[in-house]
Symmetry: C2
Subunit: 146 residues, 2 copies
């Protein structure tokens, strides 16, 4: 999966994205997530920010367990609508509970977000891996050729 450089930069610099999943019955779900891009993979942690339910009961995990398809959206809003922009990447997800890839993903997340470096038990977080199969981007006005 080759992502154009400009889109890759837009994705990489974003501090927050929205992760959409769906239940087997077709009930959509979307939550804001912190994430990190590594080549054509996106990682997001189930960290210890307060949750309304136990981590394993989180809708995103329940959905992914039954239906691995997911979409990650990054967008930019401002009142000059010619400057609106978004990018979505989609693919198959998996839950990483431990092991070298999980540990590496948590390291990458710590590198991007200093908030994670002091978060208790962050090293034991579950990780959602999204392998990007498709990407699409949109601009409010055509990009100028530079």
């Amino acid at each position: 999966m080759v992502i154009p450089d400009a889109d890759r930069d837009f994705l990489r610099q974003a501090r927050v994205a929205r992760l959409a999943t769906a239940s087997l019955a077709g009930e959509p779900h979307v939550v804001p997530v912190c994430f990190v891009l590594d080549s054509s993979t996106v990682y997001s942690a189930i960290d210890s920010k307060p949750k309304r339910v136990a981590p394993r009961m989180l809708r995103r995990l329940q959905n992914i367990a039954h239906n691995p398809r997911a979409v990650l959206l990054v967008d930019h809003y401002e009142e000059d609508w010619s400057r609106l922009r978004y990018m979505m990447v989609s693919g198959r997800t998996a839950i990483l509970e431990s092991g070298p890839e999980c540990a590496r993903a948590l390291d990458l997340l710590r590198d991007k977000y200093e908030q994670y470096r002091t978060m208790p038990d962050f090293g034991r977080s579950l990780v959602i891996r999204l392998e990007i199969e498709h990407s699409a981007s949109w601009h409010g006005a055509p990009r100028k050729t530079e």
Copy 2:
């Protein structure tokens, strides 16, 4: 559907939200949208901002035609994670093509977004109506009682 006042205000003031839908096959989709809240209904227009495909072919409309369930997410990000916040509302959608409710929704959108007031053909936009059946909100830290 009664939405707490603080959540209602948070939803009302937001300039952008993310609308998640899913195909019958369970493929999730999510796009940023402009929207307006009216009592327990959310309206969003398929306006004439540039689109990659004809309006009728938009994934959100194709999904809604087959599966009316949708979720609208509003979130606030900042680096102080105790101030993170989001709210999601979900329910059943319908497409409005014309008629008094469609016209009223477009008026409400023009009231909220001055950008719509000068947009060509905005008055002929399709409208997505989301009837809120459930709402949920989340804060990075407990709210203080005032």
